[in-house]
Amino acid sequence: MAKEIERAGILTVHICTIVPISKTVGANRIIPASAIPYPLGDPSKSREEERALRRKMVEKAFNAIKTKIDGQKVF
């Protein structure tokens, strides 16, 4: 999906746990996530810490949108 949306001209960032899949499929801007059942969280942390972790990942994604890349990049 990431590839098809980007092909249509809309910049796409992929936040995912299994980075090799994203790379193989062909996403260009990739953000590694925490874990398969909770990519943007961590149930072992408090809700506040979890939200902070999630915010960090989303900030990373926004940063990826602002970054010039020459090929696939894992941020």
């Binding site: 990431a2 949306i5 746990t17 899949i21 994203s22 193989t24 990519p39 149930p43 926004f62």
Partner: protein
């Protein structure tokens, strides 16, 4: 009499009889003898080989800690002193396929023994490991178990005995991209003309040298002024309004949903859930933001980091979903996004 070959078999938590998705975090462990599908392998091996041990690892553990998993599994495998490693078959299970491919190529590399696995052609493990591992092509689901097991055993025995392989098509494995010399009946020039004539007549023919297909999408330039963009959210993690109103399938999804989030700041667990059947839903159902980060994106929208979050989000289930379907979903979704002036998308995947 020829000695019996020693076989070790790799399984995930499910086939290894440890448990379902709730046990997908299980670390590597070893078991004496054959377990689950290994019993079928043993039948096919007959007296030629013995499944002496089974190594098992949870799919999530393997994919979240690939190096530790490979190292620990290698130690267990070494301990059995095997001649052959069989892994899976993984059918269309992506995490399992990646684990099978990774352990096969690692073990062949480190121990120099034969290793064979089996997968469906669209399994993510195929593209990653087809060059470094022998992968028997299987059906997408368990119904292909017997056929796959027979082919895996035949190929493994041939390799272990150092017999010459005919061709990937004949042996049933996915081409590794290795070219082998053989004596053909006709000269190259005659074969080329034959092929050309068939092509002119519109008859089927098989090339002797496949050209690689690169399907890469050109990188788009960055966007500097985030504060002026409309951003859309998509997830393949199956977050849907409770009750799954669009009936998105828990695996092999044939549809996606589009959900109105105007005025929604929080995905409350009593209003949203996951429809995904490929991971333990406990954590996503407790807090859907663990898969779809609406809470922090709203917060950042209010802070003015972006101008606007698109008033809908899209969700599907990425679990054995065919590439063709995923492509079609994206092509439909992107029409909305272009029409409504969305400049960037974040996709979250489990």
């Amino acid at each position: 009499m020829e000695r019996k070959y020693r076989v070790v078999h790799y399984l995930n938590q499910f086939f290894g009889r440890i448990g379902g998705e709730d046990k997908a975090g299980t670390g590597p462990l070893g078991r004496e003898g054959a377990v689950g599908p290994g019993l079928l392998f043993q039948e096919f091996f007959g007296h030629d080989a013995e499944v002496v041990g089974t190594v098992i690892c949870g799919d999530n553990y393997f994919n979240e800690h690939p190096q530790e998993a490979k190292d620990k599994l290698l130690e267990f495998i070494k301990g059995y002193g095997p001649d052959i490693l069989l892994a899976g078959p993984a059918f269309n299970a992506g995490r399992y396929g990646i684990a099978c491919g990774a352990i096969c190529s690692h073990v062949s590399d480190q121990l120099g023994i034969t290793s064979v696995t089996g997968m469906f052609s669209e399994n993510a493990g195929v593209e990653l490991y087809r060059k470094s591992a022998y992968i028997i092509e299987t059906k997408a689901s368990l119904t292909g178990m017997k056929d796959a097991s027979g082919k895996m055993v035949t190929l493994a025995m041939k390799l272990a005995r150092g017999e010459r392989l005919i061709s990937p098509e004949e042996e049933g494995y996915i081409p590794k991209g290795v070219r082998m010399n053989y004596s053909a009946d006709k000269k190259g020039a005659a074969r080329a003309v034959d092929m050309l004539l068939k092509k002119l007549k519109g008859e089927p023919f098989t090339t002797e040298y496949c050209m690689p297909v690169f399907d890469r999408v050109e990188v788009l330039p960055p966007i500097d002024n985030l504060s002026e963009i409309t951003l859309a959210l998509i997830t393949s993690g199956g977050i849907v309004p409770r009750g799954n109103p669009d009936h998105i399938e828990a695996s092999s999804a044939k549809r996606y949903g589009k959900y109105d989030i105007q005025g929604v700041d929080q995905l409350r667990p009593d209003e949203y859930e996951t429809a995904h059947g490929g991971y333990d839903p406990t954590y996503a159902n407790e807090d859907p933001h663990r898969v779809l980060p609406l809470d922090v994106i709203r917060e950042m929208e209010q802070e003015g980091v972006i101008d606007r979050l698109y008033p809908y989000y899209y969700a599907t289930v990425g679990n054995g979903t065919s590439v063709a379907n995923a492509k079609e979903f994206a092509q439909k979704i992107v029409k909305d996004l272009i029409r409504d002036g969305v400049q960037a998308v974040i996709i979250s995947s489990t």
